[in-house]
């Protein structure tokens, strides 16, 4: 086991009734790693991501975050989730709160950060993504790309150790995909640990330092972008790539 392992997943299983979506996933995710998960639809990649922060209850196996077993009932999952933010396909901003409030609600209520400090930090984040003038707007007044950038800022405001991206650009109009990917690249360059389920092959090849290919609930291939894209061994991966590229 490597020294800087942040998340250790061991034999993770998830089934919905008779449908076995995850059939035993074992892998490590290191600090600073940018992991992209690929796979045909229905392969379980989103379920895997949602199991990591226990939005779905795994049916079996273990997930260790910094050595803490998340599945152990004694673990305070709410506390552990604060280290592991998630960015959703449909943004899931809070429509009844302003952009600034969307960013500050968690730090102030969960970490006890004073409102003024939270506001300052939130404004700094918004400035980074170029949305500081939208601070007092409401989510419904923003475009999809703007919303997703705010959602990323909301995650960052909690100063997490890792961010899970669940198809962050799939719900966006094509011309807005770039602005979101730019923010993600920037994060990757700053050394944020990221686990991304995405169909953006360009992003995967350029930014990821590791790619996992899921097929029928198991890891079919695991390697660097060069290995996966240029020298795929798995037949299903080859078929998948030929359709996408």
């Amino acid at each position: 086991m490597k020294d800087n392992v942040m998340i250790h997943v061991e034999d993770l299983k998830k089934s919905f009734g008779d449908v076995h979506v995850l059939k035993g996933i074992t892998t490590d995710i290191c600090k600073g790693e940018v992991l992209v998960i690929l796979g045909p639809s229905g392969c379980g990649k989103s379920t895997f991501l949602r199991c990591l922060n226990l939005l779905e209850d795994p049916t079996g196996g273990h997930i260790y975050l910094d050595g803490t077993d998340l599945i152990d009932p004694k673990t305070n999952i709410n506390k552990e989730r604060q280290k592991m933010m998630m960015v959703f396909q449909h943004f899931n901003l809070f429509p009844h709160l302003t952009i600034l409030q969307n960013l500050t609600v968690a730090p102030t209520k969960l970490k006890g950060v004073p409102q003024a400090q939270a506001d300052d930090e939130a404004m700094a984040l918004l400035r980074r993504v170029g949305l500081e003038e939208k601070a007092s707007a409401y989510p419904n007044q923003l475009s999809g790309g703007q919303k997703q950038r705010v959602a990323i800022c909301r995650a960052l405001a909690m100063k997490p150790e890792v961010i899970l991206f669940d198809e962050p650009t799939s719900a966006l109009d094509p011309e807005m995909v770039g602005e979101v990917l730019d923010v993600m690249k920037q994060l990757a360059n700053e050394g944020m640990t990221m686990i991304c389920v995405t169909h953006e092959m360009g992003f995967a090849r350029e930014v990821a330092n590791r790619i996992i290919f899921f097929d029928e609930g198991v890891i079919a291939e695991d390697g660097t972008p060069e290995q996966v894209f240029d020298h795929p061994k798995n037949e299903r991966l080859k078929a998948f790539l030929s359709k996408i590229l």
């Binding site: 939005l55 989730r81 933010m85 959703f88 809070f94 429509p95 009844h96 209520k109 409401y138 419904n140």
Partner: protein, 741 residues
């Protein structure tokens, strides 16, 4: 924005306008076809009376004190004026009156009382004594031969009408003419029929002319010109249903009278005719109104084929009788007198329906109190106090003169609670907001004897026995008759008075004329009756606002618990219990719930009634609010929940900070609607004797026997409150809509 604001102001204005229009048409239509204020000859004073110019009706009307006599050229014009409400009554000859009335069925009526009886005769010029003698001779012959009776019978008699016309002798030869002046607008004496002047007078004149061997010529002129025509010789004689009067005799001579006639009064009757019930035997197969749970109800149920309509109040039954919805009302004699006194269109049938005895009811288990009350009653009878109290309310000479006074030095030890239904004058009724009457005073005297302070609870009549059984009241005193069925559930004291059940019917007279000013005075100003409305309004607001708060708190708790159970799949038992609660509350009427809470759940405890209402309506509302809020929670995208949880918020925090605020905004219109329903639903609070707004209006209604103002006022107040509530909810909605700007 501007338009919106305008329409917001306009809508309430329009509603008020429509209501006022309704009010005006309500009164207006009454004014238009209102019954005549004349019911007998005595009522004619100071009224507007229509007559035909120059008739005896004209002469008689002029003698009536203060009467405004409108003189018309024709009897028909006078009758037309009566129909249009321009005059209050028309004085006219009986036979023409009958013809008019038969052509205006339901719109006109002849008063039973005849105004005056008079005789018709034929008039001649003063100097024409010869003709007068000849005609008198001919008349005598016609009378003797029966020809005159035959002619009259041809126009008036029921069997003979149109069957025995006068025929001139076949072989007659005329020598000259006999000219008769008449005014052919006086059926059946003279009138136009297919262009011919026919009628009793015309035929009689022809018979006379035949006797004289002359050919009859009829001149049809104005009635007031007939005498002139005869005087000037233009006509030989005047025959026009003309009565002999002194003034006329100065100018003209009259023959012997040929018939007697009556002057009658024609009026507009009320809209509703007399009841088809004239005696107790007529009740079979009729619609009978009774008060629910009274002995009248019991008796009526025994009447063959009768359709018994049960009303909550005696006053409602009487109102229904007035409006023709029932044919008769069976009710206790004394309250019946009170009703009939105030409604001249109602009468009590002479033969009492049944005689019965009133007694006080006391719970089966409470034999000590029964003994005490019986003892006190016996003493009160012996001392004459009971007679004094009864006399204070019923006797003609003693009414209001000998009220019962408690002994001055009395010290009370505890309370004696009496249940009654204060809509039963003179036994118990509201006067200036106080419950008074024979029963109330007697109960006070009994309580004084027992050394207890009397407390009177005013509830529905059919709830009194339940209240006594459940211990909410110590005794029931409400003009209650001892019956076998009642004895099964409750004990009765010795009777304290006898009473009779009587039958009230419509007598066919018109209702008292509607007077807007007086009606407003009676319904609101008199005895500060408006206070029933304002006090009731306060109670309604009190109950509604407390119930809303209880409903919201409970409803939100249930909704959160239920949606949590649904979402997490945990606490299945709790979810099941809550589901059962919702099914129970939403599956039964609010009124039944109110009665169950009061009479079953809090049966033995003397709980504040308003608290009971708050509890009942709050619980009822909570079930609806719970489902509304749950629907609101479920309408929030699950992504919102996941976003909250993924940020590290607990389930409760996620609900509180993210789900509920959005859900609340979504369900606000539905919640507002629920509050409106709740506000109006409190109108059933009267069923457990709470004097809320509706009951306040009803109380006035039972005092004035008028439905229009009390009901309209109450409706208007509810409407205004609902409009206020709607505006408030609308304002909240707009302020919560910020994220959609």
């Amino acid at each position: 924005m501007r338009n919106k604001k305008l329409s917001r102001k306009l809508i309430p204005l329009m509603i008020v306008f429509v209501l006022i229009m309704g009010l005006m048409t309500g009164c207006g239509s009454k004014n238009n076809i209102e019954a005549s204020p004349v019911y007998g000859v005595d009522d004619l004073a100071n009224k507007t009376i229509g007559v035909q110019l120059g008739t005896t009706g004209d002469i008689y009307a002029s003698d009536i004190e203060g009467a405004d006599v409108q003189k018309f050229n024709k009897g028909a014009d006078a009758v037309q004026a009566l129909k249009q409400g321009k005059v209050d009554a028309v004085i006219i000859d009986e036979q023409p009156a009958k013809a008019f009335v038969s052509r205006n069925e339901g719109k006109l009526a002849i008063l039973d009382e005849a105004f005056v009886t008079e005789e018709y005769a034929i008039c001649f010029a003063k100097e024409n004594i010869a003709l007068q003698d000849q005609v008198n001779k001919a008349l005598a012959e016609l009378k003797e031969e029966g020809t005159l009776d035959q002619i009259i019978g041809n126009y008036i008699g029921d069997d003979t009408k149109g069957k025995q016309p006068y025929e001139s002798p076949e072989d007659i030869k005329y020598d000259g003419k006999l000219i008769m002046a008449t005014n052919a607008e006086f059926e059946p004496y003279e009138f136009l029929h297919e262009g011919e002047i026919v009628g009793i007078d015309a035929e009689m004149a022809r018979a006379i002319a035949d006797k004289l061997g002359k050919e009859l010529e009829i001149q049809n002129i104005q009635f007031d010109s007939i005498i002139t025509a005869v005087q000037s010789g233009k006509a030989d004689m005047g025959i026009a249903g003309m009565t002999v009067t002194e003034d006329r005799l100065k100018n003209i001579n009259f023959s012997d009278p040929y018939t007697t006639a009556k002057q009658v009064i024609v009026v507009r009757p009320g809209e509703v005719g007399a009841s088809p019930v004239k005696t107790a035997d007529d009740l079979n197969g009729k619609k009978i109104g009774v008060q629910l749970g009274t002995t009248g109800d019991i008796y009526a149920s025994d009447i063959e084929d009768a359709k018994v309509e049960k009303y909550n109040k005696g006053a409602d039954a009487v109102q229904a009788l007035k409006q023709g919805k029932v044919d008769a009302v069976i009710i206790d004699g004394q309250p019946a007198k009170a009703f009939v006194d105030r409604n001249r269109d109602l009468s009590i049938l002479d033969d009492p329906f049944v005689t019965e005895e009133y007694a006080i009811c006391i719970a089966k288990g409470n034999l000590d109190l029964l003994d005490d009350v019986n003892k006190a009653l016996a003493e009160l009878k012996e001392e004459g106090v009971l007679d004094q109290i009864v006399g204070n309310y019923i006797g003609d000479d003693t009414k209001g003169k000998q009220p019962y006074e408690s002994p001055e030095d009395i010290k009370y030890d505890g309370k004696l609670i009496m249940a009654t239904n204060a809509e039963f004058e003179p036994y118990e009724y509201l006067s200036k907001g106080e419950i008074v009457g024979i029963d109330a005073e007697m109960a006070k005297a009994i309580a004084d004897k027992l050394g207890k302070e009397l407390e009177i609870q005013n509830i529905q009549f059919d709830s009194i026995i339940t209240a006594v059984q459940s211990g909410k009241a110590d005794m029931g005193v409400a003009g209650m008759t001892v019956t076998e069925d009642r004895l099964k559930n409750i004990n009765f004291t010795d009777p304290y008075t006898t009473a009779s059940q009587v039958i009230i019917v419509r007598n066919g007279k018109s209702a008292t004329a509607f007077d807007l000013k007086e009606s407003i005075y009676n319904n609101f100003q008199k005895d500060s009756r408006w206070k029933y409305i304002t006090n009731g309004l306060f109670v309604t607001i009190q109950i509604t606002s407390c119930a809303v708060i209880l409903g919201i708190v409970l409803g939100f708790l249930i909704a959160i618990a239920r949606s949590s159970c649904d979402m997490t799949g945990k606490a299945k038992l709790l979810n099941w219990i809550l589901k059962a609660y919702l099914t129970l509350i939403r599956g039964t009427p609010a009124m039944i719930q109110l009665l169950i809470i009061y009479y079953v759940i809090f049966a033995s405890s003397n709980i504040n009634k308003i608290l009971v209402a708050v509890l009942a309506f709050g619980l009822n509302s909570s079930a609806y609010i719970a489902e509304i809020v749950r629907a609101g929670i479920m309408s929030i995208d699950s992504g919102q929940f996941e976003a909250g949880r993924s940020l590290g918020f607990t389930y409760a925090q996620t609900m509180r900070h993210f789900i509920m605020p959005q859900a609340f905004k979504n369900v606000l219109p539905a919640l507002g609607n629920e509050f409106i329903v709740l506000l109006k639903e409190t109108s059933i609070a009267g069923y457990i004797g709470i004097m809320d707004l509706t009951r306040g209006g009803d109380t006035i209604r039972s005092l004035t026997y008028e439905a229009f103002f009390p009901l309209m006022t109450v409706a208007l107040i509810y409407l205004v409150m609902v409009m206020g509530l709607t505006a408030l909810v609308g304002k909240m909605e707009r302020s919560l809509k910020n994220d959609e700007r």
